[in-house]
């Protein structure tokens, strides 16, 4: 157990010193390998990096990022927002439902929750001011909505989880659907209830005509079609996740072309944005993969699993400890880093306790979603505030509290009813 303590302490120290996460993970892996192992594990760095780097499965990550970048920069998010606004504005809390629904649809295809939340804030905020919404809850609904995308497939975070734990990505994607939709609905119910209790939080009611709604379908249907192409092709057994991402990229290009938004400048920005995000994700992933290899080789993973098993706690009690641990860590550590650091250690323990790895993947994503909107390092809070440029960040934080509560509710639902995640996943083996 000493070794585990040392590893965690060194890692934490490096991260708190603001050393880039990828560099910290790799440097730790290299030094652990030479200190604690009789074999020169570092010699495998080249081979491991090449084999992980050429993993066809991982190609899905840049392709999904690319897909999202194309849609965002072609202005599809704005059109979707307007369409959903016409459809949902009659509900108490009006525009806020458009925030949540657009995010759910959109972040689903975009690799960057920053880009999605930024886009939606840019479009939505002027409307909020125009119609007199309370900005706190409004901003909270955007920040919270932005987290939905990492649960509703295709989700890059689920690919990362699947890669690090060797879990089937199609099954993970299927498992994310029901909890993702349930959470979206919970968010919307939450907004309705809050606005019924305190109508001042909602803005002026805006009515839309049926001709506006039907007219907006032309903006809504193409996005839904892309979603169907991507997800449908996976489930029909027509394509692997990577292949479906490639189909999605072509569909998005066609849609951008149909809106006459393709230009060299646009494509250059798409490419630079995609490769920047991809490089960031992949370097962390490769470094974590190498560290994972070292930890497993020196027997640390097994040691930890045995340790937890010998504690004699019931599996459910252990799971609750893990949930609380993630909530605490989520306050301080950026989410992708949190995932790659903890998954290699925690997942084997959880599976050893008899939990389904697919189910745990979904639970983990819910915990990560919560981390995205809890201060002090909830990324989405800062994105919304960064664009808002007025008022204080604490307003966004306060506005997000109800949504944190709803994610917590969803976590408990998933703990009580694992089938919420597993029911669809059973259809794919």
């Amino acid at each position: 157990m000493m070794i585990i303590g040392v590893v965690l302490a060194v890692l934490l120290l490096l991260l708190l010193l603001s050393i880039p996460v990828a560099a910290a993970l790799a440097a730790l892996g290299l030094s652990m390998g030479s200190v604690f192992s009789p074999f020169p594990l570092y010699k495998a760095l080249g081979e491991i990096s090449w084999s992980a780097g050429t993993d066809f499965l991982l190609l899905a990550i840049p392709l999904f990022v690319l897909l999202g970048e194309i849609l965002l920069r072609a202005g599809i998010a704005e059109r979707t927002y307007r369409a959903l606004f016409y459809w949902l504005s009659w509900l108490p809390g009006g525009l806020m439902h458009a925030n949540v629904a657009t995010s759910a649809l959109f972040a689903a295809t975009s690799g960057s929750s920053v880009a999605t939340a930024a886009t939606i804030t840019t479009v939505a905020l002027p409307q909020a001011r125009k119609f007199g919404y309370a900005e706190s809850l409004f901003a909270g609904s955007i920040a919270a909505g932005g987290t939905l995308g990492i649960l509703i497939p295709p989700s890059i975070n689920l690919i990362v989880y699947g890669f690090l734990t060797n879990t089937s990505i199609p099954r993970l994607f299927l498992a994310g659907i029901v909890p993702g939709i349930t959470l979206t609905i919970l968010f919307m119910i939450g907004i309705v209830v809050i606005c019924l209790i305190n109508p001042k939080l909602s803005g002026q009611k805006v009515s839309s005509s049926w001709s506006q709604r039907l007219g907006s379908l032309k903006d809504l249907i193409p996005v839904l079609l892309i979603f169907v192409v991507v997800i449908g092709s996976i489930y029909a057994g027509f394509a692997t996740p990577t292949e479906s991402a490639a189909l999605g990229v072509l569909a998005a290009l066609a849609l951008a072309a149909a809106h006459r938004r393709l230009s060299l400048v646009m494509l250059r920005d798409v490419v630079e944005g995609t490769m920047r995000t991809t490089a960031m994700i992949m370097l962390i992933l490769f470094a974590a993969y190498f560290l994972n290899f070292v930890l497993a080789s020196i027997g640390l993973t097994q040691m930890l699993t045995d340790f937890v098993n010998n504690l004699g706690m019931s599996p459910m009690a252990t799971m609750l400890v893990i949930v609380v641990l993630y909530m605490v860590l989520g306050f301080f550590i950026e989410t992708l880093s949190l995932m790659v650091i903890t998954i290699p250690i925690v997942a084997p323990v959880v599976v050893g306790l008899g939990f389904d790895p697919v189910w745990f993947g979904v639970l983990l994503i819910l915990l990560i979603e919560m981390a995205l909107i809890t201060p002090p390092v909830g990324l989405n809070l800062y994105v919304v505030q960064g664009i808002r440029q007025s008022g204080s960040i604490s307003e966004v934080m306060i506005g997000s509290i109800p949504f944190v509560g709803l994610i917590l509710l969803m976590i408990f639902l998933l703990l009580l009813y694992p089938d919420l995640a597993l029911i669809l996943a059973r259809y794919v083996q």
């Binding site: 440097a27 080249g46 606004f85 990229v249 290009l253 944005g273 991809t278 490089a279 994105v383």
Partner: protein
């Protein structure tokens, strides 16, 4: 002064090389998507298998990633946790920025060395992929290796430029090169070219 000028030139060359690397990588991504899509349609609709699409795409993944790492470094996209950094004095921050680049070197130098061994082994053994394409492995591996070298050199250039600026007491300038990404930078980066928002039509206020 000549030294500073030369440093500036080196920085702009680094920027250009990395950008071109990323553009080529991005083009390859589009090319790959098209190739995979054709392969899927041929396989499912016409039951024809071209074969090799996934193999080539895998090489594209490795190569375009290795060539993008340096670009991401220039754009400060590699994640750093700045919760304590933000509360430190400027001198300490500069020190941590340097330490960050040095830690990258701790990763990159062995990475480049062992990646070279991978390439060298493929050349010596004349290894070919165990696939219908029989790709001579040194070609994709060599391109991948060069990307990693570019990443290493980018780090070295940034480190040198940063040290030069620090030596002149230009803490701000050094930070502009190597400091962590602030949320403002990130939003600017993400939304710089996003289309302007259109206003919604009121539809009639009740």
């Amino acid at each position: 002064m000549a030294g500073i000028e030369r440093m500036g030139k080196l920085l702009s060359i680094t920027e250009t090389v990395n950008r071109v690397g990323v553009w080529v990588g991005g083009l390859l991504m589009f090319f790959t998507s098209a190739m995979i899509a054709v392969e899927v349609v041929l396989r499912k609709v016409f039951a024809i298998s071209m074969g090799g699409a996934d193999e080539i795409s895998s090489y594209v993944l490795a190569i375009s990633c290795s060539w993008a790492f340096g670009f991401a470094l220039l754009r400060k996209a590699h994640i750093r946790i700045d919760i304590f950094y933000a509360k430190m004095g400027q001198r300490l921050q500069s020190l941590l920025d340097l330490l960050s680049l040095l830690t990258f070197l701790v990763y990159q130098i062995p990475l480049v060395y062992f990646a070279w061994l991978v390439v060298k082994t493929s050349i010596i053994r004349n290894s070919a992929a165990n696939t219908p394409l029989h790709t001579p492995l040194w070609i994709p591996q060599g391109l991948w290796f060069l990307g990693l070298v570019c990443f290493l050199l980018t780090t070295v250039v940034l480190l040198a430029a940063s040290v030069v600026r620090l030596a002149r007491g230009d803490l701000e300038g050094a930070r502009a090169l190597t400091g962590p990404n602030t949320i403002e930078d990130e939003i600017k980066e993400e939304s710089a070219s996003l289309p302007k928002a259109e206003t919604l039509s009121d539809g009639g206020v009740r």
